[in-house]
Symmetry: D2
Subunit: 363 residues, 4 copies
């Protein structure tokens, strides 16, 4: 299924960028959960385009309207559907894309998959705009997790080589996560953040775009969540993370660094802390062993490629005529989607955690 994720919780995402609406159906949420709509709005605002020159200027509406599954702000237990009607679409610039695919985009592969019948306007169903319903679903799950003490947070770890500070893999706290979530530009080290923003504005002026890295952590996940082999937390989180356009890699804990390690370096020694809790002294395992949570913070990094749409002329083909061509994309472009991808990564982790939590006997 292209756009259905079917786990204990299922989410079915629909919509094309320039079609009538985009949205999501979330099934099997626990009944009776209070959903704070103002908090949802704040979460969605983190994904929304900014007016500071660091994002697309498209004036998107971002708060989804709830159509079902919520009564008096509480989940009813039946499917929760929410959607946004599309506005401010400007389709005329996209007509060529059905012949001249943008390098780095799904224009060509989408046409091959759907035999030319897919909607190419604005990227259609492949548009980054579809991360709005995805974020919405993750934000709903996040509120349910927070009621149980579990907090997720992410920040820009680097953009185009400019690095932020990192979370402590062993001691990151709920407060660390909340503090970065409150910022307009989600970064720990504001000085580095200012350098990044400058770099993004320069990229925009130069018709360029920039890639980056996102670090995410979740705290207070109890030990014992997840399953071996195909249904571990890593499998599920990775599957969801690659649902965010532009992601090209994901790693947990020490991630790719483990390739250079020896066992006695990489193995995280267990100890009993002063409260009688079992912990590990290091957290190279990123809070997950054998697919199952250890009780340590869950940590991951996600690689985001530069936005494919750039203003510079690019080599492409007319894939119907089979000729080599040059493409110059007109109009609006988003010089760096990394900041807006930050809440998407959190959303993916929230979805995975809540869904797996539902296997937990005391949930």
């Amino acid at each position: 299924m292209s756009s259905l994720w079917n786990h204990n919780i299922s989410i079915s995402i629909f919509g094309e960028s320039h079609g009538p609406a985009i949205g999501v159906v979330i099934d099997n949420l626990p009944p009776g959960e209070y959903i704070d709509l103002e908090k949802l709005r704040q979460f969605m605002a983190r994904r929304a385009p900014k007016k500071d020159g660091t994002t697309t200027p498209r004036g998107e509406q971002d708060l989804l309207q709830v159509m079902s599954g919520l009564l008096n702000n509480r989940t009813t237990g039946v499917p929760l559907c929410a959607f946004i009607q599309n506005t401010d679409t400007c389709s005329k610039n996209y007509l060529d894309l059905s012949r001249l695919p943008r390098p780095g985009h799904a224009d060509y592969t989408g046409a091959m998959r759907y035999r030319g019948f897919n909607d190419v306007r604005g990227g259609g169903h492949f548009s980054g705009r579809l991360t709005a319903p995805f974020c919405f679903a993750g934000a709903v799950c996040g509120q349910i997790l927070e009621r149980r003490g579990i907090y997720t947070g992410a920040h820009i770890a680097s953009i185009h080589g400019i690095a932020d500070d990192v979370f402590s893999r062993t001691h990151v706290t709920k407060e660390d996560l909340l503090s970065v979530r409150e910022k307009q530009f989600p970064i720990i080290n504001d000085a580095q953040g200012a350098r990044m923003q400058e770099d993004i504005r320069n990229a925009r002026k130069g018709g360029e775009s920039l890639g980056g890295l996102i670090e995410c952590a979740a705290v207070n996940v109890p030990a014992g969540i997840g399953s071996p082999i195909f249904d571990g937390l890593e499998n599920t989180i990775a599957q969801l993370i690659f649902g965010i356009p532009a992601v090209k890699g994901v790693e947990f804990g020490a991630g790719f660094q483990v390739a250079e390690m020896v066992g006695s370096q990489n193995n995280d020694p267990f100890y009993v802390d002063e409260n009688g809790h079992i912990k590990t002294k290091t957290n190279n395992h990123g809070g997950i062993l054998g697919g199952i949570s250890s009780g340590m913070p869950i940590t991951l990094n996600v690689a985001i490629k530069p936005t494919a749409s750039i203003a510079k002329p690019q080599e492409t083909v007319d894939f119907r005529a089979k000729t080599n061509e040059t493409l110059q994309i007109q109009g609006r472009h988003d010089p760096c989607i990394v900041p807006r991808a930050v809440p998407c990564v959190e959303a993916a982790v929230n979805l995975a955690l809540l869904s797996h939590m539902m296997d937990y006997p005391n949930f």
Copy 2:
């Protein structure tokens, strides 16, 4: 489901390391496919322990017996079950693990997940031994793919920092893949391979273990395989790859390097080649755009952590008594599982590709 992957093809893996048997049920294979059992045996031999001091000395049987779904060496179309009866198990060394979890292992998290009822002997269902049925399933799928011209191959990209050469992301061929698959120690550059083997033997002597990196590629995958959002090739491959124990990261194409790039570097220009085929000049996208194959080689890297079981003394806890303890693991240990994980990575990619291919109209 802990051990069920349910896509167009489903695989259900069962067994515990020291239980009566381990195996797999593969459902929905196309009927009438010839399966060459000798080729299967060769594939499985790549995963089997070697006698050269670089792997575990456990004398495992590795060729699974087929119990159903195959008649006259052709798939019947109904579930194919294969299993191995366990032999050469030596359980007495494992009894402590139900109290003293090995750092880096799933002993503790498994006990939390299954409330102490899981079989800890030999790692139980979390054992690397379960990769045998996983490989078997991938080997069956590989034969069906090769009949359609699609070849997958992987090699050790590095061990403990010693690097092999790399595949050409744009021009890797079937022959490149076959040539590395034929080697006992799956490496492109044999001189580097010799250095790695030496390093592994030293690690074994020192009671240590080593991590590494695996590079995998698949060629001749037609454009248009996969789906957007949750069911793309990247999602599926990642979900399966994290089913291999010890994997801590996965990246496609340029992977984590995209984080430092600008768009005009990262975007792969399209062109029409001399045969009228549409290709890209570079392959930072690793053959996948928007979750869908582009026709370029599919390439990925996988990070493997050092084997958790090492002979050195380690700090752990008695998680029932809640006391700090020291653990020294007796008996056999595998100083580096990276070589044996190579066919597992191929298997995961084969499973993902064949399953997605079944959506393809001309399959």
Copy 3:
């Protein structure tokens, strides 16, 4: 998942009777299929309330608006979402239902399932109104099937003991199916239909409701569609049919009559017809053997209970106070839902057939 059916095609139904909207997301439809919206409207009109005293007088809007997945009237291949905004809701009469469950309704069981958080107004997610998106999905699938020559049709087989004629299980034709589908009151024998309508109007006057039977057939289904054990056509059709509220039984071919038969009566002899096609002389198997289509017409009967909402006083309980009470339901009621359930049964069969057809190599 309460309201998700996940097969080759998936449908996710959402909405509550008196909430903002109801609708459906259909995923994995083949791309490029022309959808005739006027034909869809006609299908939906068959489910809509009539003004002749035989149905609920609720002035429901019944044509769903398409939000995604359709471009220039052709499926794009990505999720098709359609919904109806609810109007003409009148919720005040329903408030008691959160304490005084209607006999025969899901008021009590829904409250137990969702711990009292479900929306009881108008039956909420349990309302017969949710058959509108269900029908819509089935109507879309029906158009795709008809393009491949497969036609489905259903009629009222009986209401409150008044019987219609029956389809010929061996020789029912596309024309037979179309002829009954064109009628306002879906019946073969119009004289019997007139008696039924009279009976329904009397029931309405008496504050009563009536049960009935629906017969459905599908023709030109090629042999070889379906699978053994859990994924046969009977399993799938039955699973979907019980998604229509008020269904209490389903039988295929000779159905419950087989219980009184001997083998030589029940077994349908094969023969080669004048065109070289393999057929059976009788069709007690209802076109399905071992879960797989035989090429003969697929036939089934579905039992529909009388609408639970009646105007007569009924015994119930206050399930919070645990006291015995009497309930008299005010307002509109639907004396017989059998006619409106007819297109729902067709829809279920269409969904099952199209989804299974997608496994078929030449689809």
Copy 4:
């Protein structure tokens, strides 16, 4: 998937009648559940052929060996695989079936589905023998349900028109269910049972077979189990019941009788009993309203067709040569599978109930 049922619990059935083995993988059982193997053996014995002339004389082994998922007789929480190696197979009589399909059997439809590659010997994967792993899975679930007070039982309601007594839909007890389960020939009224057995023996002598009806009930299911629309208890039970070969119909509660009823007859009045429990005075709803359990006994009837294999000559075709032929089946045949289908129906209900129970907060 042909033979995978994937719900909260999944079962994957494999094997062909004359292949090396048949078996089942059950995933996601709760950990720590004690499984009494002697009770399992007793359950399986109810499905086994008898030596009294009423069943097939095939000397099948029926107790499956457990390969994984069980340690010290307790579930470990990971997949439980069990299988039987096939013995006493006699394949030579089946060779013609690849050309001359048996009327009423899946020989023809299986060949169409699997393009002639399926194993036809003994019916292959379509054999009634595959109900052994199905029963095994249901028996395991039954023990877990009984630990929570839930009991399931079934009996022959009729064979070839000879009727047994029926369970009280409102007052059937655990003792009623256990009493019929203990009998060799599962019947309430032994006098009627004797008549049935005589009729079966006569059928066998005459080369005939007999159809029948099975009634099943489950008691002490708490209110609130199940879900609306596609995932109700009726949907799930029906989907599983049609996994038993020869089933042609299923009905719940009053079933097909509701078609002749008026609402005030069919609606079951609620009342508070002397212990403060909410019950209904009648149980036409069969314990399920809106897909969700009401706390009343769950009751259903299942129609079983006469065994397709009979000794009398039958008309068939050579479906490769496209000629009309006569078939006379040699060797063993089972004159009535209704008694052996009784535990299969229980097994299906057990699987559905346990799987749905796992959504229940206090499970």
